[in-house]
Amino acid sequence: MPPPGGQPVVDVALQGTPVSQPAVRERVRVLTKLRVTDTAFHLITRAAAIGVLIILGGVILSLFSGALPALREFGLSFVTEQRWNPVTEKFGALAPIYGTVVTSFIAMAIAVPLGLLITLFLTELCPMWLRRPIGIAIELLAGIPSIIYGIWGLFVFAPFLQRTLQPALIDLFGPIPILSDVFAGPPYGIGMLTAGLILAIMVLPFITSVSRDVFEAVPPVLKEAAYGLGCTTYEVVRYVVLPYTRVGVIGGVMLGLGRALGETMAVTFVIGNAHRISSSVLAPGTTISATIANEFTEAVGDLYTSALIALGLILFVITFIVLAAARYLLLRIERRIG
């Protein structure tokens, strides 16, 4: 309500010009509407945030309840037994667990050094104008759907390895006692090594992008001081950047590991799906996720389905621990840098 013609506001107030009844009602109505909207919006957003927690809780609960029949039937022997026989309904998860661990280990052994070297290139060596395009190109590797890695791995990469790398490895390590077991057997092309190599490419972008972020957060003064002492690029990275960012790099590695453990489609194509534990990395094997993907829709019988869901539960628990550790480490370095 505009004050009546030119009078000072105080005078108007003191005169106590009666406010009309409808105006009061109007004002109360608007204010109530605002308050209700605000409270409602607050509650809705809060509910959505809690919804995220419920999803996680639902995943854990539903997996647990689905896995219960198998866990009750086999108990602890589920994770220590190797046999996996749908006909006699005897299930043990040791072979898929072993395959998951081995393929992830191969992937990390290759992706970590490769990722750190790429990060070194991107943060120290690469000319400024090239950093963005190359960085994006590396990150695009993470954008390619995993099924594409699978089809490419099966039709292009596995035959290539069968012709070149695998015979070379067998010849090279054949005479050496222990390593000859690790690289034994005919070169199938598909197998745990192939799966590990493809996983390495897939997790590479995660390691690179996290370590790039933390490398770039190193205070320039520290690096400049080291360069000023005459350190070489390698020495600066090895003795200044890496110690400073160690926690963050480990966090990035764990993040990559979490991906490698749970990766499904790419592995399913090239692992060979054999339920056995073989000392040779060239032999076909299976992983937890590949087993589920391959057998779930064909699983007949409640116990079979339940055993597969129990596999999923194991996978989820393992990745949950790895990812939680990764987040914790990354949070720590974030606090220190920020």
Binding site: T37, D38, A40, F41, H42, T45, A47, A48, A49, I50, G51, V52, L53, I55, L56, V59, S62, L63, S65, L117, I118, F121, L125, I134, I136, A137, I138, L140, L141, G143, I144, P145, S146, I147, I148, G150, I151, W152, L154, F155, T232, T233, Y234, Y239, L255, G258, L261, G262, T264, M265, F269, S289, I292, F296, T297, G312, L315, T319, F320, L323
Partner: protein, 301 residues
């Protein structure tokens, strides 16, 4: 070793070093080797991307024709296209975005605006980051347990819900990040005018963060459009168009059809799988490049 030699190898202690020149050369050599390796590693990374994309183009383009988009998937040994999986993928992706995005944006809003420093936000952020990289096959099992098993059959709607579960963490994360970047002075100015918080968020924060939030949605689309594992036991597959009502029946999707066709012994199916792979990859890459461009234009402005 280098540690001590470097520290002690000063000119006034020449005895500790074999020869000053030797140390110098050794350090130089090591540096050269590492630099060489790092160029090599980058070359490997880029080369790998090029090889994969090159293979896809080489194998996929030959099968690319109008028929791919107008005919349904063929029986073994016959000609056909990818119409029903493409349509199925589109339907499920759109549905998943419609289900997942509002929840994600609202949750992200709570974390950045109402409860920025609350305990709930910290917990949700932690859990959300874990869901972000949790294995997608586990999500498939989850939806199988809560939707497919009770309903008694596979369905397109279960597939869409599974994808929505994957959409939520991506959108939550980007929404929270983008809203946190909105300068607090903007909010203070609006609050000083007497706006309740809900209106400040709607009329100020959302507008300022719009480009970022859209980027998040695009990234989410890119993520789910290539997902296979969660669809395997939710939407399954369907040789033809699903019977009406579509959503309540098994539904074909591009990734699952690629999976099935690529592992089949039939040449026609394999070549269709390559074509489908090319379509998916190009879509996903285009989406993520657009998202990046959007995000960077916002940073510059």
């Amino acid at each position: 070793m280098t540690d001590t030699t470097q520290r002690r190898g000063l000119p006034d202690q020449p005895g500790r070093v074999r020869t000053p020149m030797g140390l110098y050369q050794r350090r130089h050599l090591r540096n050269q080797i590492v630099i060489g390796l790092s160029f090599g590693a980058t070359g490997i990374g880029l080369g790998w991307l090029a090889v994969i994309l090159g293979t896809l183009l080489f194998e996929g383009v030959s099968g690319l024709s109008l028929k791919v988009f107008t005919e349904t998937t063929p029986p073994p040994g016959a000609d056909g296209g990818l119409l029903n999986p493409i349509v199925g993928s589109l339907i499920m992706t759109v549905l998943a975005i419609f289900i997942g995005t509002p929840i994600g944006i609202l949750a992200g809003t709570y974390m950045a605006e109402y409860g920025r420093f609350s305990r709930l936000t910290q917990v949700v952020r932690f859990i959300n980051d874990i869901l972000l990289s949790a294995p997608s096959i586990v999500v498939g099992l989850f939806i199988y347990e809560v939707m497919v098993a009770p309903m008694g059959h596979f369905s397109g709607i279960a597939g869409a819900v599974a994808l929505a579960v994957l959409v939520i963490p991506v959108v939550v994360r980007t929404t929270e990040d983008m809203l946190s970047l909105v300068p607090k002075e903007l909010r203070e100015a609006a609050s000083a005018l007497g706006m309740p918080l809900a209106y400040v968020i709607g009329k100020v924060s959302y507008r300022a963060a719009r480009a970022g939030i859209i980027t998040g949605i695009l990234l989410a689309v890119a993520r789910i459009s290539g997902e296979t594992a969660p669809l395997l036991f939710t939407a399954l597959n369907h040789q033809f168009f699903a019977d009406f009502p579509y959503l309540n029946a098994p539904m074909a999707s591009l990734p699952v059809v690629i999976f099935q066709f690529a592992l089949s012994p039939y040449h026609e199916w394999q070549s269709l799988a390559w074509t489908g792979a090319l379509i998916i990859t190009m879509t996903v890459l285009a989406l993520s490049i657009t998202a990046r461009a959007l995000a960077s234009s916002r940073k510059v402005a």
